[in-house]
């Protein structure tokens, strides 16, 4: 359904924000030697009890009241398993949720990473109430982007000012 890993990441982070998260860490690590890809989204949202954490991977479950099916997480779980990996949920009420999806990096059915800079830019500008840390590593090379020093510097200037959008785009493109 979602054809890029970047769109799944966007979907996971939207879940985090819906759960009231104010801080979300997005990690993407590519280990080409071990042929392994790991995506992790960790938040400080309201978290889930064991029963809820079990049910969210059911395609016919959703927390939304506007319709009765979810599909975001079940599709990601299926995509990960299809490529020799797994989806794990680590969550505790009042603490937060960490979703980890893994798969074989070179697997023929592994979906492309997609447009990560645009995904992160959309999240950062569109959710000024939350802080984001984005870490992308390829073997030992690591790119890290953190909104906290940026927001501290900007003060009352909005993230959607034209020059700030240009700055963020440039900063993310460097990664």
């Amino acid at each position: 359904m979602l054809r890029e890993l970047a769109l799944h990441i966007l979907d996971l982070v939207e879940n985090s924000l819906s759960a009231g998260a104010t801080r979300v860490t997005i990690e993407l690590s590519e280990d080409t030697r071990a042929d392994w890809l790991t995506v992790r989204v960790a938040d400080n949202g309201r978290g889930m009890d064991a029963e809820l954490a079990r049910r969210v991977v059911d395609p016919f479950f959703t927390t939304r009241t506007t319709r009765r099916v979810g599909l975001g997480l079940p599709f990601l779980k299926q995509a990960a398993e299809m490529c020799g990996g797994a989806l794990t949920i680590d969550s505790a009420p009042g603490v937060g949720t960490t979703i980890t999806a893994t798969c074989q990096h070179s697997h023929i059915d592994r979906m492309p990473l997609g447009d990560l800079p645009t995904t992160i830019l959309s999240l950062v500008v569109g959710n000024p109430q939350a802080d984001f840390v984005y870490r992308h590593s390829v073997n030992e090379r690591v790119f890290q982007f953190d909104t906290r020093p940026i927001k501290a510097e900007l003060g009352e200037v909005a993230l959607s000012e034209p020059s700030v959008i240009a700055y963020l785009k440039e900063a993310l493109k460097e990664g």
């Binding site: 506007t66 979810g70 995904t119 000012e161 700030v164 959008i165 700055y167 440039e170 460097e174």
Partner: protein
């Protein structure tokens, strides 16, 4: 974050603050893009990108851009709300990047909503 340093950001901030002082206060607008799973599947990220690109390209200051979740009208996704000044909020459906450009120019900047793309309930 090495080349694009926080020093650059400081200059950008000072410039943005200076511009805001000269700007007319009634130009303020709020654009909201729905980013539920349904919106994302329908292309909401590209819609969001088109909004940010238009603001950047045309140097439109004073527009607040935020996201929201599923609002229960999944068949109309991507959905974008536009509120300009004190005017009532307008909800647009099936907002492609092309439509974004027209909406930003005519509604956000020009103040004239585009009736044919509105969702009316």
């Amino acid at each position: 974050m090495s080349v694009k340093s926080l020093e650059d950001l400081k200059k950008i901030k000072e410039e943005a603050l200076r511009k805001r002082e000269i700007r007319n206060a009634n130009a303020r607008a709020h654009v909201t893009v729905a980013m539920g799973t349904c919106g994302i599947a329908a292309g909401a990220r590209d819609t969001m990108k088109a909004v940010l690109d238009a603001i950047e390209k045309d140097q439109i200051a004073g527009v607040l851009v935020t996201q929201t979740g599923c609002i229960g009208l999944c068949e109309f996704e991507p959905i974008v709300d536009v509120q300009v000044g004190d005017a009532p909020k307008v909800t647009y459906g099936k907002v492609s990047p092309e439509r974004v450009r027209a909406i930003v120019t005519e509604h956000v900047v020009g103040g004239k909503p585009i009736r044919e793309w509105m969702i009316t309930r």
